[in-house]
């Protein structure tokens, strides 16, 4: 089910400001790809360009080609909602729907797709929550508000909500930045399990995290404020962190910059 993602000259604008310029990269199925780089270098923008969430912001638009198993996501006749159903997303801050219970949060995506059968939904909730390593903690309080959980649990609830619709790619935008170290560890374990089913792209500020969870790493950077972000180097994680080919990458990894 997992998909290959190919970016060909993906460029993103906020009105007239160019945020990322001509990103080319190929992301293999069932792998974890980490995007690292200093703040404002466009890694989140690139991530949001993969499932066309970038264009949700007023004035924002994309150029270039982004292929999911050969189909260009930016084509005119592509259904945006189908793209987003195929590519799940987890956000920086846990964002469960505040008015919904844990159960309703998990099935919110399925409900949108018209699944009504109780037994199907029950199965899906258990499977998604088990998949997100949350089942044992919440199985006795599924009807309670999702907002009552701890931050780490909320984030895993959001992961469960994203994987409940069986997407093929999972995008994670700094999923641990609002969490404590123990919750972070749980999410990282979860990522390595989820890798068996999904193509995962994760944006992170934490280089240790990138080194721990990812197979491949892309380093983004900008020359100076106001310039668009570019992909400086993209390689196996082990190579990036031990022997990067670009001077800029090395400076960033070793902490001399950024």
């Amino acid at each position: 089910m997992a998909k290959r993602i190919e970016a060909h000259g993906v460029t993103a604008f906020y009105s007239s400001f160019k945020a990322i310029d001509s990103i080319n990269m190929t992301i293999e199925p069932k792998s974890v790809t980490a995007l690292i780089g200093p703040s404002g270098c466009g890694k989140s923008t690139f991530l949001r360009s993969i499932n066309r969430m970038h264009e949700v912001l007023p004035g924002a638009r994309n150029e270039g080609k982004l292929l999911i198993d050969g189909q260009n996501v930016y084509d005119n006749d592509v259904d945006v909602t189908a793209v987003r159903r195929m590519i799940g997303m987890v956000f920086q801050r846990p964002n469960p729907f505040p008015t919904m219970s844990i159960y309703d949060n998990v099935i919110s995506g399925l409900r949108l797709n018209g699944v009504r059968k109780k037994s199907t939904l029950d199965d899906a909730v258990e499977k998604a929550l088990r998949g997100a390593n949350l089942w044992n903690e919440v199985k006795d309080r599924l009807p309670r508000p999702g907002a009552g959980l701890s931050g780490g649990q909320q984030q895993r609830l959001c992961i469960a909500r994203a994987i409940a619709v069986e997407p093929q790619v999972l995008l994670m935008d700094e999923p641990c930045s609002a969490l404590d170290p123990i919750s972070t560890l749980k999410i990282e374990d979860l990522i390595s399990e989820l890798k068996n089913r999904f193509t995962i792209v994760i944006v992170t500020h934490n280089m240790q995290q990138a080194a721990r969870v990812s197979d491949r790493t892309g380093f983004f950077s900008i020359d100076q404020t106001g310039d668009p972000g570019r992909l400086i180097e993209y390689d196996d994680t082990s190579k990036i962190f031990t022997n990067p080919s670009e001077k800029k990458t090395e400076d960033y990894i070793t902490g001399r910059f950024g």
Partner: protein, 362 residues
């Protein structure tokens, strides 16, 4: 805790591989609209059922249904309902625009028929049903005096009440006050008028007035105060809550007493927001008719004193002229309505502009 995920058994296949959806061509809505109009015209005009208005209504209904069905068949149920919802939301907008624009248009065109120096400078004293002139000077004076006095009463009281709720109030009393401020917001203006009638006019004023009830502009101002108070308390309370706690603590740490901190630091910080709230409250009170009708009684002549004798107001003047059987009355009513709206909207616009400069509000 190991997850027992059965990856081979997909519970639900919610997302297929198909990214490209069949979409209605861009000309489809236009085509549906044209078809709806033709069909509606045939149905309504052809059968002699009704006129152009009904045709428009039927065409709109046919358009919404038609587009929903076409979208549903070609693009799927979800996209179809999205189209119907979008169309409904935009048509709600257009539907409401018509009467509101009509009100604005009539107000301006009819209002300017009589709005001149003579209208603004004369009263209705000795004006009979056969006289074309006569004006609203006395009513303007009444509105300004009554709203002004109501402001003088309500603003200090309301701000002090809000300070209590935010800075001092604890426990049952504070909660009860907060709850009843919200409830008081919903008291109808006529009830406020009746209250001042049965309290001030019938019970208090006879003591100073040889036992006769004292209708006056001041009584109207009291009734308007009852209406303004909850609004002023509520908006002040909200602004006070926006003042960062660190600001208060900074002052306390310097040994400044609490009351001085509130007066010198908290209130000035929240100032612009409080002024906005008060102005909006005045604007609403200035347009009220019922309380003035009940406790100020109306007066065709100029009466500068708010404390003795009947007084009129612009809104009451509009209501009175609306009921006068004279061919000249409607023009006077609309001119007064326009004057009133100008006063009220000036206050509102100023308040909103001030709110925009407010650094505390988001």
């Amino acid at each position: 805790m190991t997850a027992q995920v059965d990856t081979e058994r997909p519970v639900v296949i919610a997302s297929g591989d198909q990214l490209k959806a069949k979409r209605l061509p861009t000309w489809a809505p236009v085509a549906v609209a044209a078809a709806a109009i033709v069909l509606a015209a045939g149905l309504v005009m052809g059968t002699g059922w009704g006129g152009p208005v009904l045709t428009g209504v039927v065409a709109a209904v046919l358009f919404i249904v038609g587009l929903g069905v076409a979208g549903g068949v070609v693009e799927g149920r979800r996209a179809g309902s999205n189209r119907v919802a979008t169309t409904l939301i935009y048509s709600a907008f257009l539907l409401a625009l018509a009467p509101l624009l009509s009100v604005a248009f009539v107000l301006v065109t009819k209002g300017f028929e009589r709005l001149d120096g003579n209208f603004l400078g004369t009263s209705m004293k000795n004006i009979s049903a056969f006289d074309a002139n006569g004006g609203a000077y006395h009513a303007i004076i009444g509105t300004l005096e009554q709203a002004g006095i109501a402001t003088l009463i309500t603003v200090p009281l309301g701000i002090a009440g809000a300070i209590y709720i935010v800075e001092y109030g604890r426990g049952f009393l504070a909660n009860a006050i907060r709850f009843f401020v919200d409830v008081m917001t919903g008291i109808p203006s006529i009830v406020a008028g009746l209250f001042i009638l049965s309290f001030w006019v019938f019970v208090v004023t006879p003591i100073f007035n040889d036992g006769r009830p004292g209708y006056s502009g001041f009584a109207a101002a009291l009734a308007l105060s009852v209406l303004m108070l909850p609004t002023v308390v509520r908006s002040t309370e909200e602004m006070l809550r926006l003042v960062p706690g660190a600001l208060r603590e900074g002052a306390y740490a310097l040994g400044i007493p609490k009351w001085k901190t509130i007066m010198k630091i908290v209130l000035p910080t929240a100032g612009p927001g409080i002024v906005t709230g008060c102005m909006l409250a005045v604007a609403r009170a200035a347009g009220e008719t019922a309380p003035v009708l009940l406790v100020a009684g109306g007066n065709p002549a100029i009466n500068f004193s708010p404390f003795s004798d009947n007084q009129s107001s612009l809104s009451l003047y509009v209501f009175e002229q609306a009921g006068v059987a004279s061919q000249y009355a409607p023009a006077r009513a609309w001119a007064a309505a326009l004057t009133l709206v100008v006063i009220v909207l000036t206050l509102t616009v100023l308040a909103k502009l001030l709110a925009r400069r407010n650094k505390l509000a988001r």
